[in-house]
């Protein structure tokens, strides 16, 4: 190893040692958490005492992601969308989406097992996504599980098989745009309702707040849906699964540039 590499390694180790010594009592976990975390844990399902700040969902992490800090998730979704559009724009000229005759792929045993487990993957992913306000899960978790399916089909059968079955890039772009449109519409639902009624409401509002007394329905016929959280999880699942499928199909089918420059 050269001298520069050794010097960089030693400097990194010494800096991290200094950071540990200075900030040890803030880094090591203790038996009490911060007051902000205690407020979120109190307010996540509390129609008894904190009726005007609660999010009516027994799952604290989903309530923080979509209700208490919903604007963070909005910008994270748009960053993901921008990265996907940038990747698609880079390889637009190189895409060859004609359906060849699919004659290759892995052996017959693997193909039969994939045909049996493909509906199971979709069901497990949808269950994780739609129960996101009751158990650990949510829109992004379920969408990622469903997005494993196009990759398995591309490896076991072939990418042309996927296009022959009708799962082209254009359809997936439509599904993703519908998912994002659904998220945007759910975010301003209560705002539109309050404009019609003449009262006051916020964007991304879920339950009643001290100066805005409109609220989404908490349960439908006895089953808890926690207002906007169920709809957010549903639309996010569609958007994430479609987005990953686009990335796989474009990456697998990009052919090389012809020798046309320099």
């Amino acid at each position: 190893m050269r001298v520069v590499e050794v010097v960089v390694l030693v400097v990194l180790v010494l800096t991290l040692g200094l950071l540990i010594t200075v900030g040890f009592e803030y880094i090591m976990p203790s038996s009490v958490v911060r007051p902000l975390a205690e407020f979120y844990l109190y307010a996540t399902y509390n129609p008894y005492k904190l009726n005007e700040y609660t999010a009516m969902s027994p799952e604290a992490v989903t309530a923080i992601v979509w209700d208490f800090r919903g604007l963070d998730t909005l910008f994270e979704t748009s960053v993901f969308y921008l990265a996907l559009i940038a990747g698609l724009a880079l390889t637009r000229r190189l895409l060859s989406e004609h359906a060849e005759k699919p004659g290759y792929g892995l052996s017959l045993i693997v193909k039969t097992v994939t045909r049996i487990t493909a509906p199971m993957i979709i069901v497990v992913g949808a269950s994780i996504a739609l129960h996101g306000h009751l158990t650990p899960g949510g829109g992004f978790q379920g969408g990622s599980v469903i997005a494993v399916l196009p990759m398995v089909i591309i490896v076991v059968f072939s990418a042309s098989f996927l296009i022959m079955k009708g799962l082209t890039t254009s359809k997936m772009i439509v599904v993703r745009s519908l998912g994002l449109f659904g998220i945007g519409l759910t975010a301003i639902t209560l705002l539109l309702v309050s404009l019609v009624q003449g009262t006051h409401a916020y964007v991304f509002q879920n339950m009643i707040k001290p100066d805005a007394q409109v609220s989404m329905p908490v349960d439908i016929a006895g089953a808890l849906i926690s207002g906007t959280l169920w709809f957010f999880n549903l639309f996010e699942m569609f958007a994430v699964a479609a987005g990953f499928s686009i990335a796989f199909i474009v990456l697998m089918l990009a052919r090389t540039l012809q020798t046309e420059e320099r």
Partner: protein, 87 residues
Amino acid sequence: MLLGETGVYLLMAVVSLISTLAVYMAVRERDLVKAVIYSALQSGLYTTLYFLLLAPDIGLVYIPVAVGLIPGVLLILISKTERWERE
């Protein structure tokens, strides 16, 4: 019996030490397919660490993303470009 608080912390320490070993093996390996497999092994160990640190939401995101999607995409890229890292 080592159940109880010390048992949980002992399991966390063992898992994180094995993950450091996997990261070192992934960095010094010349064959890129084996480096991707070592990186996927390290992600599996991190998922166990997330479940021990009582964060099941993060574990549920991390398993399809870091053990399935990222190695899949990297293996597709390796199959279209080159496989061995030169000195």
